[in-house]
Symmetry: C2
Subunit: 405 residues, 2 copies
């Protein structure tokens, strides 16, 4: 017998029942932004590969500068100039070499004196007016990375700065996960496509747009299979096709009891029903099943509920399938108004954030769960525990940001 | 005479000197995720367009249920069933109508009683055991949106939930800004492409990868023009080509004084130099110029500096050019270690975040500014004011997240 599960139990079930289904492929570095790293990256070389100057100035033996000052400069014979991108000749005793920022430090030198503290006497000698400690203004070979060092963990979504590390290490091709394919089927006799004007009793198909966009933003390749009428045979045919072409199938809409029954029956016929109901508000009527190793999910019909369930559970499910590590950030904020106790179910409320006097304030949307327009332009959500007695205005809450991950 | 500007002055200069250069175009709703809205969206219709049930149950006149209970149910004649997606017939006195979740409420009814509180006597009558207040379990016409209501402001980057609002209102085509085209030119004799093994004194071209990826993530269409050698005529030719093909041109690399001079000279020849140096650490050697109405920017050569300058100033500049509103979130965290006073310049430090005992801790990277690998896998940055005397371990700092915007 399938009972209603808590949010924690639902996440544990996802973790337990499903695993990575995304193949590994090679992406050119310039196309790897936002992709999921398929394996950990360890350095195979030194970065930088040679000692480099961080300033424009003169490479010297540090000891030769000790005691010099503006009134008593240390005098060096100018040995020449190190050109950018070329190796440096060894430094001769008593000499200095001009090195530009990023240029190679000659063997025998162990410090750079900035050009600001130098005077060119025009006779082949240079006066330096500031002593330099050994290592001054130099980045040494391997200061950034040493061979064997872990640079990026497997499963990370690649950010701009990660591509920089890969570039430094010469990864022109990057091992990434193939995109997980997600099939979205809209169900419900009341639905019409977005471009149509709804007749009496009809509504536009909102959910498939929201759910597809969310999955797409999380890296999925989404195919929409259009609207299926409340008919079990049609539904089954569509689910079978979507399963053949995708790793994850989401049924969106179908809030009526009949449609829920049909969804359960189709999942049971093709595979196994794992969960029937999550104890949260909004979003209780959620169904999760498994056909082979692929999840098939029936989402709630209420648009706001479908959005929350997708954010809370379908995102982690997708990340599981694509082998991606999940990160989420919570922002502390003060509640803008009093919230009354909820009815024994964990409740999620969308909030917009306002900055007042250096603090974030979370303004909850008092929307009924079928409403979607109010969700637009919100920044994140707060979760109210099922055992909470209500929250006072000004109470500190944790806002999970929709945009950060 | 161009002086070094503070970060605030630099942002003000960007705001003052540049304006939106992105044309308006129509995108299909399914392709509008992440695009920038070109105009504000106001509702032209009611959402929902009819009174809808939020439960499976019976539509009644609320007054007819008053006083009923499990022991003394109120008895109604079953008038029939409202099918999903169809209009409802008017409710007759003393009658009830079955309405599924999302179905239309008949004229004359003002409440829904859930099916859980009903008994079907099988003789055409239904007993209801729970009284309902007027409006119970109903979403009324326009509860979500009324005609004329502002739903989304111009300049917003469209998120999944925003697409839901657009779907509800029938926007199958969405007015969005064309992508801003950004040309990236790498400069420097020491640079080799990522796929090559650097010779003595050479390094791989990291910056153009990082800067391109960051601009791409912010919605730009990036073209890389390869590596230009330190030669003013070659540089000018490349800048002219990039200006003809893009709205923003970024010169990346070229940390030597000679290259900086060449960049300044080329900008002065083609247009106007606006800024030469920003008083921050890392990243001081930044050049901003204007050719016609287009910005041309010389970024610092140090990879970490190029990354910070891009995040702090090139992102707002790009958003300005694409008419996008900027949002950024700061997360309060405790500093994992003591930081000493800085040298009079505002300092930016990349941090990785760790959760310990319900609090975020920010662990600063002690990287020298030429290092990039350490930036990988960091979560955001903290800013240390130029007048700060240093910060104690455990001090509360504000972390700006790289991933949230």
């Amino acid at each position: 017998m399938l009972t209603v599960k808590t949010p924690e139990e639902t996440l544990a079930l996802i973790e337990e029942q499903f695993s990575c289904l995304a193949a590994c492929e090679q992406a050119p570095l310039a196309a790897a932004l936002g992709r999921v790293l398929a394996e950990e990256i360890r350095a195979a070389e030194y970065v930088p590969d040679f000692d480099r100057s961080t300033v424009d100035g003169y490479a010297v033996r540090a000891a030769d500068t000790f005691g010099c000052s503006a009134s008593i400069p240390a005098i060096f014979t100018l040995q020449g100039e190190v050109a950018m991108g070329e190796s440096a000749p060894p430094l001769q005793p008593g000499h200095c070499l001009y090195v530009p920022t990023g240029g190679a430090i000659p063997a025998g030198a162990d410090a750079m004196v900035m050009i600001e503290y130098s005077e060119d006497y025009g006779d082949g000698t240079i006066g330096l007016s500031k002593p330099a400690a050994p290592g001054k203004n130099i980045v040494f070979r391997g200061d950034d990375v040493q061979p064997g060092q872990l640079v990026l963990p497997a499963g990370k979504k690649l950010a701009a700065q990660d591509l920089g590390a890969l570039a430094a290490l010469g990864w022109a091709q990057v091992p990434v996960r193939a995109a997980v394919r997600v099939g979205v089927i809209s169900t419900g006799d009341e639905l019409v496509p977005v471009e149509e004007t709804p007749g009496p009793g009809q509504v536009r198909d909102i959910n498939s747009t929201v759910v597809s966009a969310l999955m797409q933003r999380c890296g999925a390749e989404v195919t929409c299979y259009g609207i299926v009428r409340d008919d079990r045979r049609l539904l089954r045919r569509q689910v079978e096709q979507a399963l053949a072409e995708n790793e994850l199938v989401l049924l969106s809409g179908g809030s009526s009891v009949g449609m829920k029954d049909a969804t359960c029956q189709v999942i049971s016929e093709l595979g196994e029903l794992l969960l029937h109901g999550i104890a949260i508000k909004p979003g209780k009527p959620t169904i999760i099943g498994k056909v082979g190793n692929k999840p098939v999910v029936g989402l709630p019909g209420h648009p706001a509920a479908a959005f929350f369930i997708s954010h809370l559970f379908m995102r982690p499910l997708l990340y599981r399938l694509q082998g991606r590590r999940t990160v989420s950030y919570q922002l502390p904020a003060r509640l803008s108004e009093k919230l009354s106790a909820n009815d024994g179910r964990t409740q999620y409320l969308s909030v917009s954030l306002e900055q007042r006097g250096g603090e974030w304030w979370a303004c909850p949307l008092r929307a009924k769960s079928s409403q979607i327009s109010n969700l637009a332009a919100t920044d994140g959500y707060i979760c109210i525990d099922r055992d909470t007695e209500g929250l006072a205005a000004g109470a500190l809450v944790a806002v999970t940001l929709y945009s950060a991950e």
